[in-house]
């Protein structure tokens, strides 16, 4: 039989790419970058969670959500609420008119901790909420839309509207949410100072580890029959119904998974950056998340990670030097991706570098040369 050896080769090749990414994130970056830059990379990686979810939901399932910022934000806010409560102990807030509640509530004449803040005293509740709150919202939206067969552009517009609504809600309810400033001044996680450089390094590694958990989980989904059903649905949704599948439940499932990934990303963002605000929830950040995924290649899980890293790195360096130009650059990038390389970096890599690499892989001693090539190509692309 010829087949097993082919599969074996594919598996080892894939494992090699995962290993390469692991090496880059867990060894190369911590060695090369100082604490500040590494923290930035960690922040970029939190967007990779969203991008991976979009690969599942948009790339494979054909469901374009322009509201992933909402789920990112919900995960982030859940974590921020826990951290805020911890830093708002009665002793620490004794100069407030109501000690023991977050400072912004005090400024807004709120005199009692609202009911939905109460459970966030518990860390285990918070961890569950980071996953469950985005998933529940995605479930409700998904059932409402997909059971009624709302899809395509209409779904995209509705998710975008939801992103706008949630932002307005957060900003409007200043006394409960911290308003436009968000939830700031977060210091400790169960007594552990998250602002120190050591803590940031630990959180960075936590972020990398969870990213790989999500990557492998997503890979497991795509490798199962469910992955092929997603492709079939994107292709001919009606036909899938007549193959005996309830299309809506598959869409709801993949949308919930994408929302949970985004929620994890959001929680890690809050931990590493130290605050959460509505500016990461609304329409613009949600569209940026789609761009990360598109640039990386919407059919590639690993591509999505590189896409999130590169676009964010570009954003940082661009907005440092030409802040007003960034939005234009982003727009141009999106148009470029759609028109010139619809499968993103992963597509370019497969097309131009794979033949090269195959050649080099025959001589394993030169593997490191391949890595260099890939990084160079991705940075220029």
């Amino acid at each position: 039989m010829k087949k097993p050896s082919v599969i074996g080769l594919l598996a080892s090749r894939e494992a090699f790419y995962y290993l390469l990414l692991a090496l880059l994130l867990a060894v190369v970056f911590p060695l090369v970058f100082d604490a500040f830059r590494l923290n930035l990379v960690g922040k970029y990686l939190t967007y990779a969670f969203v991008a991976i979810g979009l690969v599942l939901c948009w790339g494979y399932g054909g469901i374009l959500s322009l509201g992933q910022g909402v789920f990112f934000g919900l995960g982030g806010y859940c974590m921020a609420m826990f951290l805020k409560l911890e830093s708002s102990s009665p002793e620490a807030t004794s100069n407030q008119s109501t000690p023991g509640i977050p400072d912004f509530m005090d400024w807004n004449q709120v005199t009692e901790l609202p009911w939905f803040w109460q459970p966030f005293h518990s860390f285990s509740f918070t961890v569950i909420a980071v996953l469950a709150v985005p998933a529940i919202l995605a479930f409700v939206i998904g059932v409402a839309m997909f059971k009624r067969r709302v899809g395509g552009v209409y779904f995209a517009i509705i998710t975008q509207a939801i992103a706008a609504i949630v932002t307005i809600l957060i900003i409007g309810q200043q006394g409960f949410t911290g308003g436009a400033n968000g939830i700031t001044d977060l210091r400790t996680l169960m007594g552990w100072d998250i602002r120190s450089n050591e803590a940031k390094l630990v959180l960075y590694y936590l972020c990398v580890a969870l990213l790989f958990v999500c990557l492998l989980f997503a890979r497991r989904i795509l490798g199962s029959k469910l992955g092929r059903i997603l492709v079939a649905m994107r292709d001919k949704e009606d036909r899938v119904r007549f193959s005996g599948y309830d299309v809506a439940s598959f869409k709801v499932f993949v949308f919930c998974i994408a929302a949970m990934f985004a929620g994890i990303g959001g929680a890690l963002f809050t931990l590493q950056v130290g605050f959460m605000s509505p500016s990461f929830v609304g329409i613009v950040p949600s569209i940026e998340m789609v761009i990360f995924c598109a640039v990386g290649g919407r059919l590639s899980l690993l591509g999505a990670v590189y896409g999130a890293l590169l676009v964010n790195a570009a954003k940082t360096s661009f907005s440092e030097s030409f802040p007003e130009l960034w939005l234009y650059a982003m727009g141009a990038l999106f148009i470029g991706v759609v028109l010139a390389f619809p499968n993103g970096l992963a597509g370019l890599y497969r097309r131009y570098l794979m033949p090269w690499e195959r050649h080099l892989r025959r001589r394993p001693a030169q593997r490191s040369g391949v890595e260099g090539e890939q990084v160079v190509k991705e940075e220029t692309a």
């Binding site: 029959k225 059903i229 492709v231 036909r239 119904r241 007549f242 005996g244 309830d246 439940s249």
Partner: protein, 249 residues
């Protein structure tokens, strides 16, 4: 549930669908015996495809009932109708172009149809055997790893028939299965259909009279959403009304 209806595998009664007042199917009734091969013929716009759409749940009936083995289909969802044992082949080949022939058949295999079922679905020997057997029947045994997009038109039609077969439906509905095929493909398809229709109840829409003659037990002629005539092909052919609206042209 009247006991009389349950003698039929499919009982369509008083079926009506109206699109903005236009009745594409108007008070239609017909009955299908188990193992029967029924061909629906009729001029363009007679509502033939709409009848299949109504049975498989793609279109919702305005009035009337469709009973399949005693179960009312008009209120069921598409996937529930499929699971009840009704399989449908569309007029234009409707397959998953981005997947391989194997994967197309595997998706149609009736197991692991829930979300969790699909996640834990394993490509075991049972599945592989079923896929290979069907692939052999539809002349695609050598193309299992081929992307469906790259098949010829006739091969795509066969693949869709295969996707239907692997579902193991009790009622097969085929919408113009030989349309757009070359002469040799047509012959092979007729042969294929003769084999697979042997132990199923079949509802076929077809224009090719030679083909109809070959396979039909009985023929229903539709005109303007209604049954114009019904019976053996011989009887229908000699019906003056049928000659006037359909065969005469």
């Amino acid at each position: 549930m009247s006991p009389v209806n349950d003698d039929f595998i499919l009982a369509v009664e008083g079926l009506t669908v109206s699109f903005d007042g236009f009745k594409a199917v108007n008070d239609l009734s017909f009955y299908l015996d188990p193992q029967e091969i029924r061909v629906i013929i009729g001029p363009n716009g007679a509502g033939k495809t709409t009848v299949l759409d109504l049975i498989c749940g793609k279109t919702r009936a305005t009035n009337g009932s469709i009973r399949f083995r005693g179960r009312e289909l008009t209120r069921m969802k598409e996937h529930q109708i499929v699971r009840a044992g009704v399989g449908r082949k569309f007029q234009n080949p409707s397959i998953y172009e981005d997947l391989t022939v194997f994967e197309n058949l595997e998706i149609s295999y009736p197991s692991g149809r829930s979300v969790m079922g699909a996640l834990s679905f394993r490509r075991d020997a049972r599945v592989r055997d079923a896929v290979e057997e069907v692939a052999h029947t539809i002349f695609l045994a050598d193309q299992l790893e081929q992307r469906a997009e790259l098949l010829s038109h006739g091969q795509k039609q066969w693949l869709e028939i295969g996707m239907l077969l692997i579902q193991k439906p009790d009622l097969l509905m085929l919408d113009e299965p030989v349309a757009g095929m070359s002469v040799s493909e047509r012959k092979k398809t007729a042969e294929l259909l003769r084999v697979i229709t042997r132990n199923h109840s079949v509802l076929v829409i077809e224009h090719d009279m030679q083909f109809v003659e070959d396979i039909a037990d009985r023929v229903t002629v539709m005109h303007q959403g209604k049954v114009l005539s019904e019976g053996s092909l011989e009887r229908v052919k000699s019906d003056p009304r049928v000659i006037e609206v359909y065969l005469g042209h």
